[in-house]
Symmetry: C2
Subunit: 383 residues, 2 copies
Amino acid sequence: MSVTAAKGFSAAGIAAGIKETGNPDLALVVNNGPRRAAAGVFTSNRVKAAPVLWSEQVLKGGEVSAVILNSGGANACTGPKGFQDTHATAEKVADVLGHDAAEVAVCSTGLIGVLLPMDKLLPGVETAAAQLSEHGGEKAAIAIKTTDTVHKTSVVSKDGWTVGGMAKGAGMLAPGLATMLVVLTTDADLDSETLDKALRAATKVTFDRVDSDGCMSTNDTVLLLASGASGITPEYAEFAAAVESVCADLGRQLIGDAEGASKDIKVEVINAASEDDAVEVGRSIARNNLLKCAINGEDPNWGRVLSAIGTTRAVFEPDQLNVAINGVWVCKNGSVGDDRELVDMRYREVHIVADLAAGSETATIWTNDLTADYVHENSAYSS
Amino acid sequence: MSVTAAKGFSAAGIAAGIKETGNPDLALVVNNGPRRAAAGVFTSNRVKAAPVLWSEQVLKGGEVSAVILNSGGANACTGPKGFQDTHATAEKVADVLGHDAAEVAVCSTGLIGVLLPMDKLLPGVETAAAQLSEHGGEKAAIAIKTTDTVHKTSVVSKDGWTVGGMAKGAGMLAPGLATMLVVLTTDADLDSETLDKALRAATKVTFDRVDSDGCMSTNDTVLLLASGASGITPEYAEFAAAVESVCADLGRQLIGDAEGASKDIKVEVINAASEDDAVEVGRSIARNNLLKCAINGEDPNWGRVLSAIGTTRAVFEPDQLNVAINGVWVCKNGSVGDDRELVDMRYREVHIVADLAAGSETATIWTNDLTADYVHENSAYSS
């Protein structure tokens, strides 16, 4: 499953010794062809990790034959030596596989500001290459975990072709794009332009709308690789829908495993004047620490929702806003609505609807509650 | 002290029964003249509480003879009835004092979306008026507390004239302006235009740069009232400096008492291309939940600082950024700097310097750490 669900791919996940715990920390995904088209979307953080700077260049060529991913170190803010290390990693993969380093994408995740232990990583590449398998997708997904409690994979199969993928990310999920590492593979026979179009369309409404803690990573990377091994070229719309479906599923899994979270919150903005307005309002609600604490306490505190909406530039009139929490319209026309005691918040998923009464556009942002566990997890260890 | 440090003012603070705890919840500040010039700055949240909508209109007249402030209820998102209640409160104050309701400012703080108990508030106005005293400033400061653990006052006295004030605010301190209630008084003989100019200049570099949790209130109000009772008209620069000094002192006290905080964090951005850049970068750092958790754990995690800087539009080159934490330059040229083990974070105040190496402008933003206590305080009760 995972990145090896689609035909034409092999993968491996091993423990190279990068993590002091001895847990798996190095994943290799190889596209065995016949074609090696690829597209990528990267963090919009201006402080980019060395592997992001490298992989952005690789993707400009539109072809990726392999992706090497390590957890246990982000290789971000590591200066020229960090970039040399990324380059050396790609060269090593190319050397072992007999490919061109310019077609090897590199992803890293972990602590910022620490150089990778290349004496462990480079031998690890050989070990991983030796273990490449058409059933290795699961192991690869496990090897990219950081504070993730579970590994994340998703697959959609259509008439003779498949899109599958793996993701890691537990904290620091935020827009611009997704603050995560994701590798998607397909055996559909498509060129890099089509992959790029489908990937950008999908991330815009999935990973870009997953906002765990408002923080944006230096390492975000989402890659889509096509082997063409199915020999089938699907209709664009059908392919794009499959990619979006896999991205949505992985995004939902990321929120479900967000650091310390006890509630998954679906913020749905309706009747906005524009989609941009809907996204801006949804993000503002999703980033409101006070609301996220209230949800943690199972308190349907709609005043926090209105406060958050009020900080945006979206089109709305304060006395026309409506808010529902888990189906109860607790705020009507900007004021007290139905009895908040009616709101049942015992379950993990919480659904907030913000009705701007200003148009017909909509957007959904996923976030989670803010918990004492989140604070503990992010204060107790450097990550 | 407090609002009665300056000559020409009386004040009172009483328990009207608005708070179920029976704690003081109603404050009255009266300007006894001879002049009643005033200026005000209000929340930039577009969802404004009824008392904000009312007081904005009052301040347009440039004269305020009294301010009535209640804790125990924000009177925000309460519809037309909420506005009627604010109006009735101002009328009651005017009636009792023999003033014009159009010169009575109203401030409220507490839970959003709940109507005030007018049957308790209106009789409370009479009780407060009966207790007005030139020594009542302290009691007034106590009556406006919500989750504040201490009341906040500050006074600057110059040659024959004084600026003093009180503030409340413990959570939800954020820019745009300050997310707090503040009343400043002076016996300097100045008109409302001068007061307005000095107040806006002061809040811009004080309350506007205090950002506890990134959330913006519906009720923020900062008022400056002048009685002229000293008979002295100070130089503008000297007066503006005194107002800024009182605002800075109160702002520092607000951060020091922020909900659940264990660290007060001074984020100083230096060598920015513009002051706007410096403020944007400072705010981005101050709002980074991951950094705020790391500081809570006494972890000098400078990677979080760089990640935050990278999300801004400020002028900088990633490989020229420098970051110091408590005097140790842990990040130099965008990469690893001095040994992070040298950073001593045992004390409550933490000083982060972000050097953008892009110019000569600077700005300082105050924030605090993110703690499990903050989560508990904001999840355990509706506020």
